[in-house]
Symmetry: C2
Subunit: 403 residues, 2 copies
């Protein structure tokens, strides 16, 4: 048996890791919060000793330069340094974008000994990195800092709050280890892990072989289940770094901690969905199979009409039904039932909302988070995805993002 | 050879057809325009003689009652009457929804002789039709009216203007025929023909066998190429009625007229996209095959990030590239080129927008309509779909629609 509990702060809890950020003026105008301005635009995470690393990247075919740079290392490479910048995605920059990363790392090597450094970028697509600005960061960064707060803030783009979490795992034999993570992401999140960066570090003595397996499975059940606007970016990255320094490990315990931390971060991203105010779970059960449940559930979390109805707090189940009907899954209006939380909204016997149920439905929809459950009555397949509402604010943020 | 020219007005141009509308108070509160209030909520189109009929319906599995009622007639049935109502979709109403239509037609038959009448409804999902109100319309409707303007207005829901068009075709042998149409549709339009009703009538002496073939092909190249918000409704219907009264027909001429009228109506729907201000053609060429071109083109016209960038008039080609990259088609950033109208925006050689091209791009994006062309450089496949921007207004309309 083991115990798992949250601890204060973030990355600084994990033995042997350092992190920090600085500001080199890449954020050309206030991006909403002064906090971010001060926290900076170039950040790093490093370990005193070499780490094994596992990563999940975007499915977008235009993978950004840092992702392609990462993939040039041999399969089982170890690293001790991650360099991160905001405001420029280094995407669609061709071979030159990859060369720019090598140039940066050559300068970095003059300041600190690094092993196979990797990079991660977020921001606007199509512009070369400002090499001189980023290089200037190496003069001011304190490579022995343990400033998780600053690091989490420096990677924000349209995020309205920083996202960091840490857990301690205590094992039965008295041993313990830590796992901590920071991530960024607000808009453009999709069931394909879009415009998000997530860095997870641990001092657990995890075997390399477990890392990719557990990271992939947890990604599937966390970041791949959320949707803000259905788009998929060129830079999405989830990284897990393990320096093994605690000397302790327990697979089930690690898996539970990893799943918890990733699911909670995914919910934070959704909560911070650009202009979003509500977090809704779309549970589909009774589908012909799991693939169909997933299809229907994702159709709901991605539908503009559903999202605007959530924003309007309108218990219009017609949009829910219509979206399921359009999703291409096997269903029948006679076997379908729809619940909002525990309230029956639609079934073959109850098609029109009476005043009483309508009042109850309004109350449910006024909550910050609730569940919409649809049972298709066709089989055993089930899937839950998570979405948010679409507000005026979303349009404003995205109409004005670049300029 | 033949001549094709637009004529004033709408349905009244076609020999032997009658149409009109009345107001029975189904519109419970002002829906924006007083015009619509006055024009009414129950409308009809009828022919003095039996018509052949062809129809294309939604792909949503929850087909509304009027569509299922239509499909109960034998395959080659003729009709002379279409009853249309706004404000209530008669969808997700089960078998009772179909019985309600029979009840209405029984009342109608007491007022006027009708042959296999069909119905078409649009509005909110999940409520039974108000039988008494609709029946009361039969007392006030003038079945010998030729009021296309009133009919086109009565079928509007969130439309901000009525949509009607008419063409006259003159044949070389001196014969001529007319084709005219009305349609409604604004939000919820998708490459799957969503929330739109379109009624096309003609006095051309078209053989029944040509009707379904030409209607299907023209739907594919018109309503199926537009996207407002990617949703697909329970009620979409495109109907073609032919009473043959002109005694003239010419297949190529009819096809050209039908394609023209349907494409123009599709563009009107897009122009009236809820809260939309811009009409954009997304042309994809050089795809591996046509299927891939279609996939990429539709990904663009459906992307929230592309739509909000259009609204913000931001020449952010990164969102275009990223959306193509996420669409799952074969492409490579070295072979991709992007143009806005005739302006080169991205190619392997021109990745960053210089000031001059950026200024030009801004000017193009300020237009009411323009073209975004993406050549994938992978093959011969091409496809164009049409989309619009996403504004604050869209969110407002859809948050408030039902209540």
């Amino acid at each position: 048996m083991f115990k798992l509990f949250p601890v204060k702060g973030g990355l600084e809890n994990v033995q042997g890791f350092f992190c920090g950020a600085t500001n080199v003026g890449m954020r050309t105008k206030p991006s909403g919060t002064n906090e971010v301005e001060i926290a900076g635009d170039v950040a790093f995470i490093r370990s005193a000793t070499p780490c094994d690393i596992a990563a999940v990247f975007t499915t977008n075919v235009f993978r950004a330069a840092p992702l392609r740079h990462f993939q040039k290392y041999p399969k089982d490479f170890q690293t001790d340094f991650v360099l991160i910048n905001a405001k420029n995605a280094n995407a669609m920059t061709g071979e030159k974008g990859i060369e720019d990363i090598d140039t940066l790392f050559a300068s970095l090597a003059k300041k600190i000994n690094v092993l196979n450094p990797v990079m991660s970028s977020t921001g606007v697509i199509g512009y070369r990195l400002p090499i001189d600005k980023i290089t200037s960061a190496f003069e001011t960064l304190d490579f022995n800092a343990k400033n998780s707060d600053q690091t989490a803030k420096a990677i924000m783009t349209t995020d309205s709050f920083k996202k960091e979490l840490a857990y301690k795992v205590e094992l039965e034999d008295g041993g313990s280890f830590h796992i901590a993570a920071i991530c960024k992401g607000a808009g453009m999140i999709n069931p394909a892990m879009a415009t998000m960066l997530c860095f997870i570090i641990t001092d657990a003595d995890i075997p390399k072989s477990d890392m990719a397996e557990l990271l992939q499975a947890s990604t599937e059940d966390s970041f791949n289940r959320i949707s803000v606007d259905g788009d998929t970016s060129t830079n999405d990255t989830v990284m897990l770094l393990a320096n093994k320094q605690s000397g302790h490990y327990h697979k089930e315990a690690f898996e539970e901690a990893l799943r918890k931390i990733m699911f909670e971060l995914a919910m934070l991203i959704l909560k911070d969905g650009e202009g979003a105010n509500k977090l809704v779970a779309f549970e589909v059960t009774g589908a012909k199979n799991q693939e169909e449940a997933k299809k229907a559930s994702r159709a709901l979390s991605n539908s503009l009409l559903v999202k605007t109805a959530l924003f309007g707090e309108d218990p219009n189940w017609g949009r829910i039904a219509s979206t399921i009907g359009a999703s291409g899954v096997v269903c029948d209006e006679r076997t379908l039932t729809i619940h909002y939380d525990d309230l029956l909204i639609y079934s073959d016997e109850h098609r029109e909302l009476d005043k009483e149920r309508e009042e109850k439905a309004y109350k449910i929809m006024k909550q910050e988070s609730f569940k919409i459950s649809c049972d298709l009555g066709q089989g055993e397949g089930s899937y839950t995805s998570y979405g948010c509402d679409l507000s005026y604010e979303y349009v404003k943020i995205n109409a004005e993002y670049r300029t």
